[in-house]
């Protein structure tokens, strides 16, 4: 089917409304913030390395039609538990990071399986359920980390434990693995440090996703994502496929969180994971993805645009109105607003499509 240029442009504008708004906002805000270009580029490179993996972990459930996986915080929690252990054992460097990944994988698989099973019970409202599940598991995580660690699960390193003798401190210092991956091999271009190892890992993962979508399992997931009943009637195990997609997402989110935290170097024991989910989802949506369709370019575009806004807005607010806090609130508003708008657009579009589908049933004449 051929579309006129006009239609194509309007289609493009609708499809990429969110990224376009962000680009425009950035164009206004960057000069206001008075940041140097080098600083911003360096920040963006660092943040791209830090956040991309987390955002990528969201792609597979979208493929399987389960929407934005707010349950990725479960994976982040698993990763943090792994990090607590290696910090306690004082395993350092890349070895420490890999070890943290390995020991948190079974936990992530378990949590992912649970999450998938619960979401299968709440078909049609996966997102709100996984969202609440994230909060719920946060409670369980607190129970384990704040009361279990040092009590039931032995922790030797006193630097980790609260002064009362059990429970992990609010802030866990990850000095041992700080930047271990980023600095594995990195180089400078025009004064900008590029953490090549991290980018290699992210690149490998992108290849994995592309390859995965060409496997039988990937094909099944896309089928399940588009029409569960049809997929089921041809013999694809729908529920199992959905669970697998969530498990993969959870495990990847777990790795993503470990990569994220090795860059940060300190871990906000009880908050890091919640922000991980929220930032990742907002980034993906800013990149032009929707609840039902997301691609790898969406991820990178989204991370850059979202974080650009994030870095720039407080300073822009400060110089514009003399109130840094204003910019800070503005970016909070943006983060939530983007998710809200994306969800509204998605529901609305689905509504429209349903109507159109109905009309197409009208018969041949």
């Amino acid at each position: 089917m051929k579309y006129s240029l006009r239609e194509q442009i309007s289609h493009f504008l609708v499809q990429y409304a969110v990224p376009i708004i962000f680009v425009l906002l950035s164009i206004v805000a960057i000069p206001l913030s008075r940041f140097s270009t080098e600083y911003l580029v360096q920040e963006m490179v660092a943040r791209l390395a830090r956040d991309s993996f987390l955002v990528l972990s969201l792609l597979i459930p979208i493929m399987a039609g389960m929407g934005l996986n707010f349950g990725m915080v479960l994976g982040a929690m698993a990763g943090e538990i792994g990090l607590i252990f290696i910090t306690d054992w004082n395993v350092m460097g890349v070895q420490g990071m890999l070890l943290a990944m390995i020991i948190s994988t079974p936990l992530a698989i378990l949590l992912g399986w649970m999450c998938g099973a619960i979401l299968n019970k709440a078909k049609g409202r996966e997102m709100v359920t996984s969202f609440i599940l994230g909060f719920f598991m946060n409670g369980v995580y607190q129970l384990v980390v704040l009361y279990g660690f040092g009590n039931i699960i032995p922790i030797k390193n006193p630097a980790l434990v609260l002064s009362r003798g059990f429970g992990i401190r609010n802030v866990t210092n990850l000095a041992g693995i700080r930047h271990c991956l980023d600095d594995l091999f990195s180089f400078n271009i025009m004064g900008i440090t590029i953490p090549a190892a991290t980018f290699l890992l992210i690149g490998a993962f992108c290849l994995f996703i592309t390859w995965f979508s060409r496997t039988k399992l990937g094909q099944d997931m896309r089928a399940v994502g588009q029409d569960q009943d049809v997929a089921g009637s041809t013999g694809i195990p729908v529920e199992r496929t959905r669970i697998i997609s969530i498990v993969i997402s959870t495990v990847l989110a777990c790795y993503g969180q470990i990569i994220f935290l090795q860059n940060i170097g300190t871990m906000n024991t009880y908050n890091s994971h919640e922000q991980a989910g929220m930032f990742a989802i907002a980034s993906l949506l800013v990149g032009g993805a929707s609840v039902s369709r997301a691609t790898i370019p969406n991820v990178f575009l989204g991370v850059i645009l979202f974080h650009l806004m994030f870095v720039v807005s407080p300073m822009a607010g400060k110089y514009l109105i003399g109130e840094a806090q204003l910019g800070e609130f503005f970016r909070v508003f943006i983060s939530y607003g983007v998710i809200a708008i994306a969800l509204v657009l998605y529901s609305w579009r689905r509504h429209k499509e349903r109507e159109r589908a109905r009309r197409s049933l009208r018969g041949a004449e």
Binding site: K216, Q226, S233
Partner: protein, 529 residues
């Protein structure tokens, strides 16, 4: 391969159906809605609904071996393929991807060793090749890389059939009304492909309402009526008329229930006039309907499923987008506003009992009075000195009790939730809801669908009695012609969204049959012209 033989003995919905089909032959299966075609096919295809409702009687043989499928997958294994009326396609996939869905060609990669076969890589080239082969077999013009969501409906149908062909085992193919959604040219292509398939040795069971098609391509034709095989034809030795009469023609004594009193009835002035009505109801499109209903009569609307008879009632009641002119008792009825016909005194009993007709989770009383409360502000009482009006619980209870008694609704109390009742009793509640409005005109759609024989009689008697006692006009819409003929004064037959003709109920059933199959006449006209 020896002849595919199948015999099968059932009762109630299907009784003692026997037929056999040889390799490479096409069997035409015709019958009215509810004649048992779907049930028969469900049994053949091992649909779970058959097992859940207690299995079936009789035996099925394929290649001389007795088979009994517990699930559609077993049927597929045995080489029985089925193309349903509703498409089973993934919209975002291409034709090729849909054709090989869940039977994709894959190649080995090393990760399979660790994670199992689901991680095998898709072999796109091979998939395309298979799709092309299947499409070539069908001999249709269908591009394998075309996305299903962008296909015209005919191509979707071809994709479905191509999928069945691609299953190497398929030896018996069931096509359930494949031509209903196709244009003339597409249908012609499909028929040609079917012939070709038959030549390749695949047996086909072809279900259709377009009798000309059946006559054109089938080797044998079986007519089902009320769950029994009434006639078996060979196309060369028959014509449309005899098939049509076999389909609808219950023997003449079907009218014996009509009494002398019925014959003497005179109808009053016109109460409802429908002009150029169109209704956009999915699956039941009304294109251009003109009707006049007289005061005090029972007016029947019949026709095959999907021809638009249900759309008329729903359109006038404002439930689907519609246009045209509807005049009721001298007033023009505004369309697309459900409140308007209700406040003019038109009520309706919906064919979608559980979806539209009832509040399943609410008590009986509430179901009965709600519409009257909303439309006519009844069952309300003033409190706080007339400031607010709230529900009058006592009046509601009395009203509900009255109808429970009058319509013999079997229930524990008027507070029982409707979901707990049987289909027949639920239907009575729908009627009570309409009666509570005291309508001057009542639309009743498919009042006896899905309820048992005893309840059917009660429902029909109630309608008749209501018509006689209250001098209310009733428009009854039903797929069951005999039912219409037993209670209505005049019957309109709808075909392709238009009125094919209006006959008195006493007209012979073959005439109704011909009207229902009006499409056939047109086809023949075209052929002769």
């Amino acid at each position: 391969m020896e002849g595919v033989g199948k015999s099968y003995f059932g009762n109630r919905v299907l009784a003692n159906v026997n037929f056999s089909l040889k390799k490479g032959q096409i069997l035409g299966l015709v019958g009215e809605n509810g004649a048992g075609k779907s049930t028969l096919m469900n049994i053949l295809f091992g649909m779970p609904v058959i097992q859940e409702t207690g299995g079936f009687e009789g035996k099925i043989y394929i290649d001389g071996k007795e088979v009994s499928f517990n699930s559609p997958f077993e049927a597929l294994e045995a080489g029985v393929g089925m193309v349903h009326q509703e498409f089973s396609l993934i919209p975002g996939f291409t034709a090729a991807e849909n054709i090989v869905l869940n039977r994709e060609s894959t190649t080995y990669n090393v990760l399979v060793e660790a994670f199992g076969d689901r991680l095998r890589t898709l072999d796109r080239v091979e998939i395309r090749k298979r799709a092309e082969t299947a499409i070539d077999t069908l001999n249709v013009d269908l591009h394998p890389d075309m996305c299903v969501s962008e296909m015209p409906v005919g191509h979707k149908q071809f994709t479905e059939i191509a999928r069945e062909i691609d299953k190497k085992r398929t030896r018996l193919l069931v096509l359930d009304e494949p031509t209903a959604v196709l244009t003339e040219t597409e249908a012609a292509i499909l028929l040609k492909s079917m012939k070709k398939l038959a030549d390749l040795g695949i047996s086909i069971i072809f279900i259709s309402h377009r009798l000309q098609e059946i006559l054109d391509i089938c080797d044998t034709i079986i007519v089902l009526r009320d769950g029994e095989v009434v006639r078996e034809f060979v196309p060369e030795k028959t014509d449309l008329m005899s098939i049509a009469s076999a389909m609808v023609g219950r023997s003449i004594q079907g009218q014996s229930q009509r009494t002398q009193e019925d014959a003497d009835r005179t109808s009053g002035e016109i109460i409802l006039r429908v002009e150029n009505l169109w209704v956009d109801m999915p699956g039941e499109t009304v294109r251009d309907v003109n009707l006049e209903v007289h005061k005090g009569e029972i007016f029947g609307i019949g026709g095959l499923a999907g021809q638009g008879k249900l759309g008329i009632g729903n359109g006038i009641m404002g439930l689907y987008p519609s246009g045209g002119t509807v005049t009721f008792d001298g007033d023009v009825v505004p369309l697309n506003d459900p409140m308007a016909p209700l406040s003019l005194g038109i009520a309706a009993v919906s064919e979608d009992r559980r979806g539209v007709g009832l509040l399943l989770e609410e008590p009986i009383a509430w179901n009965i009075i709600f519409t009257a409360l909303q439309v006519q502000n009844r069952y309300l009482r003033s409190i706080l000195g007339g400031l607010v009006r709230i529900r009058d619980a006592a009046a509601i209870r009395d009203c509900a009790k009255h109808y429970i008694q009058a319509l013999e609704i079997k229930c524990v109390s008027e507070r029982q939730r409707v979901v707990e009742l049987s289909g027949g009793n639920q239907q009575k509640i729908c009627l009570a809801k309409a009666f509570a409005l005291d309508p001057k005109l009542l639309f009743v759609a498919e009042p006896t669908r899905g309820i048992d024989v005893g309840a059917k009689k009660v429902v029909l008697d109630t309608l008749r009695e209501y018509n006689r006692k209250n001098r209310a006009t009733v428009v009854m819409i039903s797929s069951e012609l005999e039912e219409l003929r037993s209670i209505c004064d005049r019957i309109a037959i709808i075909d392709e969204g238009r009125v094919a003709g209006i006959l008195p109920a006493t007209a012979p059933s073959t005439e109704f049959g011909l009207l229902m199959l009006g499409k056939v006449q047109k086809t023949r006209e075209r052929v002769t012209a």
